[in-house]
Amino acid sequence: MIFFFLLQLVAIPVLSPLAVGIIRKIKAHMQGRVGASVLQPYYDLWKLFHKDEVISEDATWIFRFAPYLIFAVSVAVGIAVPMVTAVPAAFPGIERLSFLALSDFLVVIYLFALMTFFLALLGIETGSGFGGFGAAREMMVAALAEGGLLFSLLVASVIAQSGNLMGIVVNLQMMPLETLFPLLIAFVGFAIALLAENSRFPVDNPATHLELTMIHEAMILEHSGKRLALLEWAAANKLLIFIALGANIFFPWGVALQADALPGLALALVVFAAKAAVLLAGIAVIESTMAKFRIFRVPDLLFTSLVLGIIALSISITF
């Protein structure tokens, strides 16, 4: 049990730079280039931990402390997310085990909001123009995207009659296919929320050098050295967590329900890798084929995500 807990703890932080690397690699191929290796984000993080930092004189203790908090929260949420197994079925009677408390979907959403809150504070922190703009836009996007995110997860929760992410995966696997139809609509809403919360196209450009087109990048412009590494790692963790949620909540087949059967686990790992690869490829394709939206078109997109969630919810509770 402790082994499983530790595995869940380190899985997300260890694998998240790989996910970012895969997206960049696919984007590079779509641009006709070879691109950096998929392990490049690991090298970037490793190098950043070896660099010194320059901190602004206008920064306060929040600047020094918040990156650690943001990273810690991203790791903590990683424990709660079903990746290869969904725990309750594997270990019956351990509902009170501490890390299951985190798996409530409202807790997960609000912990993400906590990360965004502190990230926005970091943007305003040093008093540079771009950080402030980035923070303002980030709060705008986050406030509007939260609705779509909550409703898409709520649809899954209502269908599965459980508020716990692990419980949702377990229950959904056992339900007949027709009842899972609203999940497709909810997934579209979730996908939009994923793009918005992780600063992907068409909401934000993670590779831009133009400050006026930055949202997430603008907030980390002032950071260097290990704090920059922690923030980039936390963003990668958040992306992988969203990918895991998208793959396992909306398409729950393939998640192992027993953590002690090794062949079952290996199969589940392969299935998860395949699902994640499809989602990552999808993100990369969207980034390569679409232009970033003008900022005042983004709310329309986010409201669409909310409405899709409401439609999916209405369908799921009517039938």
């Binding site: 320059v54 206008d58 650690y68 790791v75 906590l114 123009g129 303002a136 836009r137 509770i317």
Partner: protein, 684 residues
């Protein structure tokens, strides 16, 4: 301990407040030191009275024994009937916790007033205000309640206009008007209940409620809604709130926003669940819709504000909306017969009442420290304050985190509970109920996202960055006692959050005791709370979540820190792309919310006035000065209160025709009236 379960303890804390009130007045007359002794005396006694009330309330809850007695009244219709039951005890705990913090804060804050204002008068008003707030939940008779309600309104009015500034006086006038409008409707509700049951005693209403006709019940509810809604700040009856709450001194604002607004909601709970249970489900739907509207509009107005205290006042409107959502859901569940869900929803509402009181007071006290340090309430003039007010800033941050509902603080616990009660409701078979619940969930989600944005703005643009204006003197940290009060409230936010399972169990047990035929005993005495807690252990183990976060933070942070301890840190200039930084090159508070205001411009109707002064008025080529004034449209005054005012004036003008000034006409009126009375007496 037994002392606290007797009526004598009510006399104790009542007496302490009265002693504080009159003692302050006396001391200010006798001791000519500018009011220091009087003010400190008043605040200390306010603290002691609150402490005594808190102890009594705990005694009642722990022992499971209520205090009920009545004193014969000297005034007609008034009978001083007291009833200290579980619900009242919960509310008294709320009042006294905030009262204690505000009193300690006041001792430090009152330095502000020395020499200029009469602190004896302030002390008197403050203690009378606290007295009324503590006693209102204990009143068990309609007129006694009204008497206390009126004292509360009057004392708070005088506190609002205490500083005698132009805007305070205007705010006070609007407040006076609106609160008496509300009181009029409350009186109507009470009189209707008297007509229906034949008595003014609340105990009689509890018994006779089954016999009231549905029409009468609906009218009572409607008038209670309007009357108490005015005090609670439900949209569109909220227009006085953003004017009056900021105008009062900061700890009084905390009491008004944190506690006074809750007394109205408390009375609504009493009316709908205690006196006249069995309300139709449609009332619950109406409350939920009203709550959704209030919450969303409240937070939108808060987001667009540039005055820190008005921002907090509008945020109160938002949180009242959230409480109404829980309240409405409870009514719906009761109406549908799903009592266990109703208990949860009502527990969510009551929990949010307590949590909001704590973190809103914390925020107001912090805002008071900031306003005192900088001399202005304009958010655009703050910036970089964390370096000068480190502790106040830290406590304000805790308050912001709590109000944005982040685990493991208390705001998250009550919002989670509200969400859960709303999620349950979407499974109901009726389409209308489903739709209302979905609308409410949408509103709650949007509200909480916007609340986080509002408090990033409020905390970030005030405390972080550099100064956004040229300062003539450096801001100074708040007084020790002010910090103590804020720290106490911040600690409470953590305790109430981490103790979520305990609180939920306690609330359910307490609510189950309302409306029982023998209401003087709790269903779950304190010793059984611990046992009952096991049932709720899976509900929201925020303490485990909090601990996990702490452990991971410590481990990850420690590991990274240790691994990179040899890296150097250089302190340099903010990366400004090579351009010189000035106060104006940072995001301002208005700019921060501008994108959201633009998105919601259909609701907010932002206005912009440009004024241009040219170098040469005739040629009008070169601009000398250009000013832009941005504001929000006010649909309430133009749409509701304006036309109502005009209608009233119209009728008043017509009525004025009777006053012709001619004495003969007046004699004629008397004569005609006498004839009519004669005819009526003869024929009846």
């Amino acid at each position: 301990m037994e002392f606290f379960l007797t009526p004598a303890s009510l006399f104790l804390f009542g007496g302490l407040f009265l002693f504080g009130a009159f003692g302050a007045l006396l001391l200010s007359r006798l001791v000519p030191d500018g009011g220091k002794i009087a003010g400190t005396f008043a605040h200390v006694l306010g603290f002691l009275g609150s402490l005594a009330a808190l102890t009594t309330a705990f005694a009642v809850l722990v022992s499971g024994q209520a205090i009920a007695f009545s004193l014969p009244g000297t005034l007609p219709f008034v009978e001083f009937a007291f009833r200290f039951d579980a619900l009242a005890a919960y509310f008294v705990i709320l009042v006294s916790l905030v009262g204690m913090a505000a009193s300690i804060y006041g001792i430090g804050y009152q330095k502000h007033f020395f020499g200029g204002h009469s602190l004896g008068w302030f002390g008197f008003l403050y203690n009378i205000f606290l007295l009324s707030l503590v006693f209102i939940p204990l009143a068990n008779q309609a007129f006694f309640f009204l008497f206390l309600w009126e004292i509360m309104s009057l004392s708070s009015y005088f506190l609002v206009v205490f500083e005698r500034k132009e805007e305070s006086v205007q705010a006070g006038f609007l407040y006076f008007l609106m609160t008496h409008l509300g009181t009029a409707f409350v009186m109507l509700a009470l009189l209707l209940a008297y007509g229906a049951t034949g008595s003014f005693a609340f105990d009689d209403w509890r018994v006779a409620s089954a016999n009231i006709t549905p029409l009468l019940q609906s009218l009572i509810f409607l008038f209670a809604l309007i009357g108490f809604g005015t005090k609670a700040g439900i949209i569109p009856l909220h227009i006085w709130l953003p004017e009056a709450h900021p105008a009062a001194p900061s700890h009084v604002s905390a009491l008004m926003s944190g506690v006074m607004v809750k007394t109205a909601l408390f009375m609504l709970v009493r009316f709908f669940f205690d006196f006249f249970p069995g309300a139709r489900m449609e009332w619950g739907l109406a409350f939920m819709l009203l709550g959704s509207l209030s919450a969303l509009l409240g937070i939108l107005y808060a987001l667009a504000e540039r005055d820190i205290k008005r921002l907090l006042a509008y945020s109160t409107v938002e949180n009242v909306g959230i409480m109404l959502m829980g309240f409405g859901a409870a009514l719906v569940f009761f109406g549908l017969g799903a009592e266990s869900f109703a208990l949860f929803a009502l527990a969510a509402m009551l929990y949010h009442m307590l949590n909001h009181a704590i973190f809103k007071s914390l925020l107001f006290l912090g805002a008071g420290a900031v306003v005192e340090a900088t001399g202005t309430r304009n958010l655009n003039a703050y910036g970089g304050l964390l370096k000068f007010l480190p502790l106040s800033g830290f406590f304000f941050l805790i308050g912001s985190l709590a109000i944005s509902a982040f685990p493991p603080l208390n705001g998250f616990a009550s919002e989670w509970l509200t969400f859960q009660s709303l999620f349950v409701g979407i499974a109901s078979p009726s389409l209308l109920v489903k739709a209302t619940f979905i609308i409410t969930i949408v509103s709650l989600v949007m509200t909480s996202g916007l609340a986080a944005a509002t408090f990033v703005k409020a905390f970030g643009t005030s405390f972080l960055g550099r100064a956004r204006t040229v300062r003539t003197e450096l801001p100074h940290e708040a007084d020790q006692l002010m910090l103590l009060a804020m720290g106490f409230l911040a600690l409470l936010t953590l305790v109430l959050g981490v103790g979520a399972t305990f609180m939920i169990a306690a609330l359910i047990g307490m609510i189950a005791s309302i409306g029982l035929t023998d209401p003087l005993s709790l269903r779950f005495p304190f010793s059984e709370f611990i046992a009952a807690r096991e049932q709720f252990a899976n509900v929201l183990p925020l303490e485990t979540i909090g601990m996990l976060l702490l452990v991971i933070f410590a481990v990850a942070g420690g590991a990274v820190y240790f691994a990179t301890r040899k890296r150097g840190i250089v302190y340099g200039r903010t990366w400004d792309c090579g351009t010189p930084l000035s106060p104006r090159t940072q995001i301002s508070s208005t700019g921060f919310s501008r994108s959201l205001v633009t998105i919601f411009q259909g609701i907010l109707r932002p206005t912009r006035q440009t004024s241009i002064e040219y170098q040469d008025g005739k040629m009008r080529y070169f601009i000398k000065y250009q000013g832009i004034k941005m504001g929000l449209g006010d649909p309430y005054r133009s749409g509701i209160y304006g036309p109502a005012h005009n209608v009233l004036l119209f009728f008043a003008r017509q009525a004025r025709r009777i006053q012709s000034g001619n004495v003969n006409a007046y004699a004629l009126y008397m004569f005609v009236t006498l004839i009519l009375l004669l005819v009526w007496t003869l024929y009846s």
